[in-house]
Point group: C2
Chain length 191, copies 2
DNA sequence: CCTGCAATTGACTGATCAGTCAGTCACCCC
DNA sequence: GGGGTGACTGACTGATCAGTCAATTGCAGG
Protein backbone atom coordinates (compact mmCIF):
# COMPACT_ATOMS: atom_id res chain seq x y z
CA UNK A 1 0.00 0.00 0.00
CA UNK A 2 1.56 3.23 -1.14
CA UNK A 3 -1.00 5.14 0.87
CA UNK A 4 0.63 3.99 4.09
CA UNK A 5 3.86 5.69 3.27
CA UNK A 6 2.02 8.86 2.38
CA UNK A 7 -0.03 8.64 5.53
CA UNK A 8 3.13 8.37 7.60
CA UNK A 9 4.63 11.43 5.93
CA UNK A 10 1.44 13.39 6.35
CA UNK A 11 1.09 12.44 10.00
CA UNK A 12 4.73 13.17 10.69
CA UNK A 13 4.39 16.57 9.05
CA UNK A 14 1.50 17.46 11.31
CA UNK A 15 3.14 16.16 14.48
CA UNK A 16 6.50 17.72 13.70
CA UNK A 17 4.79 21.05 13.48
CA UNK A 18 2.68 20.55 16.59
CA UNK A 19 5.50 19.31 18.82
CA UNK A 20 8.75 20.01 17.03
CA UNK A 21 10.44 17.06 15.37
CA UNK A 22 12.85 16.41 18.22
CA UNK A 23 9.97 15.85 20.57
CA UNK A 24 8.01 13.58 18.30
CA UNK A 25 8.75 9.90 18.95
CA UNK A 26 8.47 7.55 16.02
CA UNK A 27 6.07 5.45 18.09
CA UNK A 28 3.62 8.36 18.23
CA UNK A 29 3.84 8.98 14.51
CA UNK A 30 3.14 5.32 13.82
CA UNK A 31 0.22 5.21 16.24
CA UNK A 32 -1.41 8.34 14.86
CA UNK A 33 -0.93 7.11 11.33
CA UNK A 34 -2.74 3.92 12.32
CA UNK A 35 0.14 1.52 11.84
CA UNK A 36 2.40 -0.38 14.18
CA UNK A 37 5.64 0.94 15.48
CA UNK A 38 7.69 -1.44 13.41
CA UNK A 39 5.85 -0.70 10.20
CA UNK A 40 7.28 2.77 10.12
CA UNK A 41 10.70 1.21 9.79
CA UNK A 42 9.57 -0.89 6.85
CA UNK A 43 9.00 2.32 4.93
CA UNK A 44 11.84 4.41 6.32
CA UNK A 45 15.15 2.92 7.40
CA UNK A 46 15.52 5.50 10.15
CA UNK A 47 13.81 8.49 11.68
CA UNK A 48 16.19 10.74 9.75
CA UNK A 49 14.94 9.24 6.49
CA UNK A 50 11.38 10.05 7.49
CA UNK A 51 12.32 13.61 8.35
CA UNK A 52 13.97 13.92 4.96
CA UNK A 53 10.86 12.61 3.21
CA UNK A 54 8.78 15.17 5.07
CA UNK A 55 11.15 17.90 3.97
CA UNK A 56 11.05 16.88 0.34
CA UNK A 57 7.28 16.56 0.46
CA UNK A 58 6.88 20.09 1.75
CA UNK A 59 9.28 21.51 -0.77
CA UNK A 60 7.56 19.76 -3.61
CA UNK A 61 4.13 20.89 -2.49
CA UNK A 62 5.40 24.43 -2.52
CA UNK A 63 7.05 24.09 -5.90
CA UNK A 64 3.89 22.63 -7.45
CA UNK A 65 1.79 25.48 -6.15
CA UNK A 66 4.34 27.96 -7.39
CA UNK A 67 4.49 26.47 -10.84
CA UNK A 68 0.71 26.64 -11.10
CA UNK A 69 0.52 30.22 -9.86
CA UNK A 70 3.16 31.78 -12.08
CA UNK A 71 2.15 33.08 -15.50
CA UNK A 72 4.01 31.38 -18.33
CA UNK A 73 4.18 34.48 -20.46
CA UNK A 74 4.29 38.25 -20.06
CA UNK A 75 7.05 40.60 -19.03
CA UNK A 76 9.85 39.42 -16.79
CA UNK A 77 8.54 41.75 -14.13
CA UNK A 78 5.09 40.18 -14.22
CA UNK A 79 6.29 36.62 -14.36
CA UNK A 80 8.70 37.10 -11.49
CA UNK A 81 5.94 38.84 -9.56
CA UNK A 82 3.76 35.81 -10.22
CA UNK A 83 6.28 33.51 -8.60
CA UNK A 84 6.71 35.95 -5.75
CA UNK A 85 3.03 36.30 -4.96
CA UNK A 86 2.47 32.59 -5.50
CA UNK A 87 5.14 31.72 -3.00
CA UNK A 88 3.68 34.04 -0.39
CA UNK A 89 0.26 32.67 -1.18
CA UNK A 90 1.29 29.13 -0.43
CA UNK A 91 2.97 30.12 2.80
CA UNK A 92 -0.14 32.03 3.89
CA UNK A 93 -2.34 29.06 3.07
CA UNK A 94 -0.05 26.68 4.97
CA UNK A 95 1.74 28.69 7.65
CA UNK A 96 2.50 25.54 9.64
CA UNK A 97 4.10 23.84 6.67
CA UNK A 98 6.13 26.90 5.86
CA UNK A 99 7.39 27.23 9.42
CA UNK A 100 8.36 23.57 9.48
CA UNK A 101 10.13 23.88 6.15
CA UNK A 102 12.21 26.71 7.53
CA UNK A 103 13.25 24.66 10.52
CA UNK A 104 14.03 21.57 8.50
CA UNK A 105 16.12 23.46 6.00
CA UNK A 106 18.54 24.50 8.72
CA UNK A 107 18.51 21.28 10.66
CA UNK A 108 21.43 18.90 10.55
CA UNK A 109 18.98 16.11 9.92
CA UNK A 110 18.66 16.99 6.24
CA UNK A 111 21.46 15.51 4.19
CA UNK A 112 23.15 17.27 1.34
CA UNK A 113 21.40 15.02 -1.13
CA UNK A 114 17.91 15.98 -0.07
CA UNK A 115 18.81 19.62 0.08
CA UNK A 116 20.17 19.51 -3.44
CA UNK A 117 17.05 17.70 -4.63
CA UNK A 118 15.13 20.74 -3.64
CA UNK A 119 17.35 23.06 -5.61
CA UNK A 120 16.08 22.35 -9.07
CA UNK A 121 12.50 22.71 -7.97
CA UNK A 122 13.10 26.38 -8.40
CA UNK A 123 15.07 25.97 -11.57
CA UNK A 124 12.42 27.82 -13.53
CA UNK A 125 12.95 31.02 -11.56
CA UNK A 126 16.67 30.73 -12.05
CA UNK A 127 16.18 30.38 -15.78
CA UNK A 128 13.89 33.37 -15.84
CA UNK A 129 16.49 35.43 -14.05
CA UNK A 130 19.22 34.36 -16.44
CA UNK A 131 17.05 35.19 -19.40
CA UNK A 132 16.20 38.61 -18.04
CA UNK A 133 19.82 39.36 -17.40
CA UNK A 134 21.04 38.58 -20.89
CA UNK A 135 18.20 40.59 -22.38
CA UNK A 136 19.27 43.56 -20.28
CA UNK A 137 16.15 43.95 -18.19
CA UNK A 138 17.93 43.47 -14.91
CA UNK A 139 21.41 44.22 -13.73
CA UNK A 140 24.22 41.76 -14.23
CA UNK A 141 24.53 40.05 -10.86
CA UNK A 142 25.52 36.51 -10.00
CA UNK A 143 22.28 34.57 -10.58
CA UNK A 144 22.93 32.38 -7.57
CA UNK A 145 23.19 35.43 -5.36
CA UNK A 146 20.06 36.87 -6.86
CA UNK A 147 18.15 33.69 -6.22
CA UNK A 148 19.35 33.54 -2.63
CA UNK A 149 18.37 37.16 -2.08
CA UNK A 150 14.97 36.65 -3.66
CA UNK A 151 14.18 33.59 -1.57
CA UNK A 152 15.22 35.39 1.57
CA UNK A 153 13.10 38.40 0.68
CA UNK A 154 10.07 36.23 0.09
CA UNK A 155 10.72 34.47 3.36
CA UNK A 156 11.00 37.79 5.16
CA UNK A 157 7.70 39.00 3.77
CA UNK A 158 6.06 35.79 4.96
CA UNK A 159 7.67 36.12 8.34
CA UNK A 160 6.40 39.66 8.65
CA UNK A 161 2.91 38.61 7.69
CA UNK A 162 3.02 35.83 10.24
CA UNK A 163 4.08 38.11 13.07
CA UNK A 164 1.69 40.85 11.95
CA UNK A 165 -1.49 38.96 11.06
CA UNK A 166 -3.51 42.13 10.74
CA UNK A 167 -1.42 43.43 7.86
CA UNK A 168 -2.85 43.53 4.35
CA UNK A 169 -1.37 40.43 2.75
CA UNK A 170 -1.55 41.58 -0.81
CA UNK A 171 -0.04 44.96 -0.14
CA UNK A 172 2.87 43.56 1.83
CA UNK A 173 3.48 40.98 -0.86
CA UNK A 174 3.52 43.58 -3.60
CA UNK A 175 5.58 46.04 -1.62
CA UNK A 176 8.24 43.47 -0.87
CA UNK A 177 8.39 42.49 -4.51
CA UNK A 178 8.64 46.05 -5.75
CA UNK A 179 11.48 46.78 -3.36
CA UNK A 180 13.34 43.81 -4.73
CA UNK A 181 12.51 44.62 -8.30
CA UNK A 182 13.67 48.20 -8.03
CA UNK A 183 16.85 46.81 -6.55
CA UNK A 184 17.67 44.61 -9.50
CA UNK A 185 16.00 46.29 -12.49
CA UNK A 186 18.02 48.34 -14.89
CA UNK A 187 15.16 50.41 -16.23
CA UNK A 188 13.07 52.18 -13.62
CA UNK A 189 9.79 50.35 -13.07
CA UNK A 190 6.73 52.39 -13.83
CA UNK A 191 5.47 53.06 -10.31
CA UNK B 1 32.96 32.20 40.30
CA UNK B 2 31.29 34.10 37.49
CA UNK B 3 33.86 32.67 35.09
CA UNK B 4 32.34 29.22 35.50
CA UNK B 5 29.02 30.33 34.08
CA UNK B 6 30.75 32.00 31.17
CA UNK B 7 32.89 28.94 30.58
CA UNK B 8 29.77 26.77 30.41
CA UNK B 9 28.14 29.08 27.87
CA UNK B 10 31.29 29.22 25.78
CA UNK B 11 31.73 25.46 25.84
CA UNK B 12 28.08 24.86 25.06
CA UNK B 13 28.29 27.25 22.13
CA UNK B 14 31.20 25.34 20.67
CA UNK B 15 29.67 21.92 21.22
CA UNK B 16 26.25 22.96 19.97
CA UNK B 17 27.86 23.99 16.74
CA UNK B 18 30.03 20.90 16.45
CA UNK B 19 27.29 18.39 17.19
CA UNK B 20 23.99 20.21 16.99
CA UNK B 21 22.36 21.07 20.28
CA UNK B 22 20.03 18.11 20.31
CA UNK B 23 22.96 15.75 20.23
CA UNK B 24 24.93 17.47 22.92
CA UNK B 25 24.32 15.98 26.37
CA UNK B 26 24.64 18.27 29.35
CA UNK B 27 27.12 15.81 30.82
CA UNK B 28 29.48 16.43 27.92
CA UNK B 29 29.17 20.18 28.20
CA UNK B 30 29.97 20.00 31.88
CA UNK B 31 32.94 17.71 31.37
CA UNK B 32 34.45 19.82 28.60
CA UNK B 33 33.94 22.95 30.65
CA UNK B 34 35.87 21.26 33.45
CA UNK B 35 33.06 21.07 35.98
CA UNK B 36 30.89 18.29 37.32
CA UNK B 37 27.62 17.28 35.79
CA UNK B 38 25.61 18.67 38.65
CA UNK B 39 27.40 22.01 38.69
CA UNK B 40 25.85 22.90 35.36
CA UNK B 41 22.47 22.75 37.03
CA UNK B 42 23.60 25.13 39.73
CA UNK B 43 24.05 27.77 37.08
CA UNK B 44 21.18 26.87 34.78
CA UNK B 45 17.93 25.36 36.04
CA UNK B 46 17.54 23.30 32.89
CA UNK B 47 19.17 22.57 29.58
CA UNK B 48 16.69 24.90 27.92
CA UNK B 49 17.91 27.75 30.11
CA UNK B 50 21.47 27.08 29.01
CA UNK B 51 20.43 27.05 25.37
CA UNK B 52 18.71 30.36 25.90
CA UNK B 53 21.80 31.83 27.51
CA UNK B 54 23.87 30.68 24.54
CA UNK B 55 21.38 32.32 22.20
CA UNK B 56 21.45 35.63 24.03
CA UNK B 57 25.23 35.52 24.23
CA UNK B 58 25.54 35.11 20.49
CA UNK B 59 23.05 37.82 19.73
CA UNK B 60 24.77 40.23 22.09
CA UNK B 61 28.17 39.49 20.64
CA UNK B 62 26.80 40.30 17.22
CA UNK B 63 25.09 43.46 18.38
CA UNK B 64 28.25 44.71 20.09
CA UNK B 65 30.30 44.15 16.96
CA UNK B 66 27.66 45.87 14.90
CA UNK B 67 27.50 48.88 17.15
CA UNK B 68 31.25 49.25 16.97
CA UNK B 69 31.39 48.89 13.20
CA UNK B 70 28.68 51.34 12.24
CA UNK B 71 29.58 54.99 11.76
CA UNK B 72 27.72 57.29 14.11
CA UNK B 73 27.45 60.08 11.56
CA UNK B 74 27.30 60.56 7.83
CA UNK B 75 24.51 60.02 5.32
CA UNK B 76 21.77 57.55 5.97
CA UNK B 77 23.09 55.51 3.08
CA UNK B 78 26.55 55.30 4.58
CA UNK B 79 25.40 54.61 8.10
CA UNK B 80 23.05 51.86 6.99
CA UNK B 81 25.81 50.44 4.82
CA UNK B 82 28.03 50.46 7.89
CA UNK B 83 25.58 48.28 9.78
CA UNK B 84 25.15 46.07 6.76
CA UNK B 85 28.84 45.45 6.19
CA UNK B 86 29.46 45.15 9.90
CA UNK B 87 26.85 42.43 10.21
CA UNK B 88 28.31 40.47 7.34
CA UNK B 89 31.75 41.02 8.78
CA UNK B 90 30.81 39.42 12.07
CA UNK B 91 29.18 36.49 10.38
CA UNK B 92 32.26 35.94 8.22
CA UNK B 93 34.51 36.11 11.25
CA UNK B 94 32.34 33.65 13.18
CA UNK B 95 30.55 31.47 10.65
CA UNK B 96 29.91 28.79 13.26
CA UNK B 97 28.30 31.25 15.63
CA UNK B 98 26.18 32.70 12.89
CA UNK B 99 24.96 29.29 11.77
CA UNK B 100 24.12 28.36 15.32
CA UNK B 101 22.27 31.63 15.84
CA UNK B 102 20.14 30.91 12.81
CA UNK B 103 19.21 27.50 14.12
CA UNK B 104 18.47 28.72 17.62
CA UNK B 105 16.30 31.57 16.42
CA UNK B 106 13.91 29.11 14.80
CA UNK B 107 14.08 26.47 17.48
CA UNK B 108 11.20 25.95 19.86
CA UNK B 109 13.71 25.95 22.67
CA UNK B 110 13.94 29.73 22.69
CA UNK B 111 11.16 31.30 24.70
CA UNK B 112 9.37 34.46 23.69
CA UNK B 113 11.14 36.37 26.42
CA UNK B 114 14.60 35.64 25.17
CA UNK B 115 13.62 36.33 21.59
CA UNK B 116 12.17 39.69 22.57
CA UNK B 117 15.31 40.52 24.53
CA UNK B 118 17.17 40.33 21.31
CA UNK B 119 14.83 42.67 19.53
CA UNK B 120 16.04 45.94 20.93
CA UNK B 121 19.63 45.04 20.23
CA UNK B 122 18.90 46.31 16.76
CA UNK B 123 16.86 49.24 17.93
CA UNK B 124 19.45 51.63 16.55
CA UNK B 125 18.91 50.45 12.99
CA UNK B 126 15.17 50.81 13.42
CA UNK B 127 15.62 54.37 14.62
CA UNK B 128 17.85 55.14 11.70
CA UNK B 129 15.25 53.82 9.31
CA UNK B 130 12.49 55.87 10.92
CA UNK B 131 14.62 58.97 10.79
CA UNK B 132 15.43 58.47 7.13
CA UNK B 133 11.80 57.96 6.28
CA UNK B 134 10.56 61.16 7.87
CA UNK B 135 13.35 63.13 6.23
CA UNK B 136 12.27 61.75 2.87
CA UNK B 137 15.41 59.88 1.96
CA UNK B 138 13.68 56.55 1.70
CA UNK B 139 10.20 55.50 0.71
CA UNK B 140 7.42 55.37 3.26
CA UNK B 141 7.18 51.70 4.14
CA UNK B 142 6.27 50.03 7.40
CA UNK B 143 9.54 50.21 9.38
CA UNK B 144 8.95 46.78 10.82
CA UNK B 145 8.67 45.31 7.36
CA UNK B 146 11.76 47.15 6.27
CA UNK B 147 13.74 45.85 9.19
CA UNK B 148 12.60 42.29 8.53
CA UNK B 149 13.51 42.59 4.87
CA UNK B 150 16.89 44.07 5.70
CA UNK B 151 17.78 41.36 8.18
CA UNK B 152 16.75 38.69 5.71
CA UNK B 153 18.81 40.27 2.97
CA UNK B 154 21.87 40.40 5.18
CA UNK B 155 21.28 36.79 6.15
CA UNK B 156 20.97 35.81 2.52
CA UNK B 157 24.23 37.49 1.60
CA UNK B 158 25.94 35.64 4.43
CA UNK B 159 24.38 32.38 3.36
CA UNK B 160 25.59 32.91 -0.18
CA UNK B 161 29.09 33.67 1.01
CA UNK B 162 29.06 30.54 3.14
CA UNK B 163 27.99 28.29 0.29
CA UNK B 164 30.33 30.05 -2.16
CA UNK B 165 33.51 30.53 -0.16
CA UNK B 166 35.48 31.59 -3.20
CA UNK B 167 33.32 34.67 -3.77
CA UNK B 168 34.71 38.13 -3.09
CA UNK B 169 33.26 38.95 0.32
CA UNK B 170 33.38 42.68 0.02
CA UNK B 171 31.82 42.79 -3.41
CA UNK B 172 28.96 40.51 -2.46
CA UNK B 173 28.35 42.50 0.69
CA UNK B 174 28.24 45.78 -1.20
CA UNK B 175 26.15 44.41 -4.04
CA UNK B 176 23.55 43.02 -1.67
CA UNK B 177 23.38 46.33 0.12
CA UNK B 178 23.06 48.36 -3.06
CA UNK B 179 20.22 46.16 -4.28
CA UNK B 180 18.41 46.77 -1.05
CA UNK B 181 19.18 50.45 -1.01
CA UNK B 182 17.96 51.01 -4.56
CA UNK B 183 14.82 49.21 -3.51
CA UNK B 184 14.00 51.54 -0.68
CA UNK B 185 15.61 54.86 -1.64
CA UNK B 186 13.51 57.63 -3.05
CA UNK B 187 16.32 59.48 -4.76
CA UNK B 188 18.43 57.40 -7.10
CA UNK B 189 21.72 56.47 -5.46
CA UNK B 190 24.75 57.72 -7.28
CA UNK B 191 26.04 54.50 -8.79
C1' DC C 1 41.58 24.93 65.25
C1' DC C 2 36.82 24.89 64.82
C1' DT C 3 32.27 25.91 62.97
C1' DG C 4 29.08 27.01 59.50
C1' DC C 5 27.97 27.74 54.91
C1' DA C 6 27.93 27.72 50.08
C1' DA C 7 29.80 25.79 46.13
C1' DT C 8 30.80 21.62 44.04
C1' DT C 9 30.69 16.83 43.07
C1' DG C 10 29.36 12.53 40.54
C1' DA C 11 26.89 8.30 41.21
C1' DC C 12 22.33 7.42 40.51
C1' DT C 13 17.34 7.36 38.90
C1' DG C 14 13.45 7.32 36.22
C1' DA C 15 12.00 7.97 31.97
C1' DT C 16 12.33 8.06 27.06
C1' DC C 17 13.09 6.25 22.47
C1' DA C 18 15.07 4.47 18.06
C1' DG C 19 15.35 0.47 16.17
C1' DT C 20 14.85 -5.03 16.27
C1' DC C 21 12.88 -9.38 15.43
C1' DA C 22 10.26 -13.50 16.08
C1' DG C 23 6.00 -14.33 15.02
C1' DT C 24 1.15 -13.44 12.80
C1' DC C 25 -1.86 -12.56 9.15
C1' DA C 26 -3.92 -11.67 4.63
C1' DC C 27 -3.69 -12.75 0.12
C1' DC C 28 -2.50 -15.04 -4.17
C1' DC C 29 -1.44 -18.81 -7.21
C1' DC C 30 -1.38 -23.58 -8.10
C1' DG D 1 -7.21 -26.02 0.29
C1' DG D 2 -2.60 -25.50 1.01
C1' DG D 3 1.55 -23.51 0.98
C1' DG D 4 4.43 -19.74 -0.06
C1' DT D 5 5.27 -14.79 0.32
C1' DG D 6 5.90 -10.52 2.23
C1' DA D 7 3.59 -6.86 4.61
C1' DC D 8 2.64 -6.02 9.12
C1' DT D 9 2.82 -6.27 14.22
C1' DG D 10 4.14 -4.77 18.94
C1' DA D 11 6.65 -6.29 22.92
C1' DC D 12 11.20 -5.76 23.91
C1' DT D 13 16.13 -4.09 24.29
C1' DG D 14 19.99 -1.46 24.89
C1' DA D 15 21.37 2.84 25.28
C1' DT D 16 20.97 7.61 26.34
C1' DC D 17 20.16 11.62 29.22
C1' DA D 18 18.13 15.42 32.02
C1' DG D 19 17.93 16.32 36.38
C1' DT D 20 18.57 14.93 41.71
C1' DC D 21 20.69 14.71 46.04
C1' DA D 22 23.52 13.10 49.78
C1' DA D 23 28.14 13.62 50.57
C1' DT D 24 32.42 16.31 50.25
C1' DT D 25 35.36 20.15 49.84
C1' DG D 26 37.17 24.60 50.58
C1' DC D 27 36.90 28.77 52.71
C1' DA D 28 35.83 32.84 55.80
C1' DG D 29 35.34 34.48 60.18
C1' DG D 30 35.85 33.79 65.01
Amino acid sequence: MIAKRAKLIETATRLFHERGFWDTPTALIAREAGVANGTLFNYFPSKAALVEAVYLGLKQSWAVHLQAAAPQSGSVHDRLAGYWLGAIDWARAHPDRHALLGQLKLSDEIGEGARADGVDMFAATLELIGEAMTSGVIRPIDPGLLKTLAEAQVGAAIQFLTTHPESPVDEIARTSFEIFWRGIALAPSGD
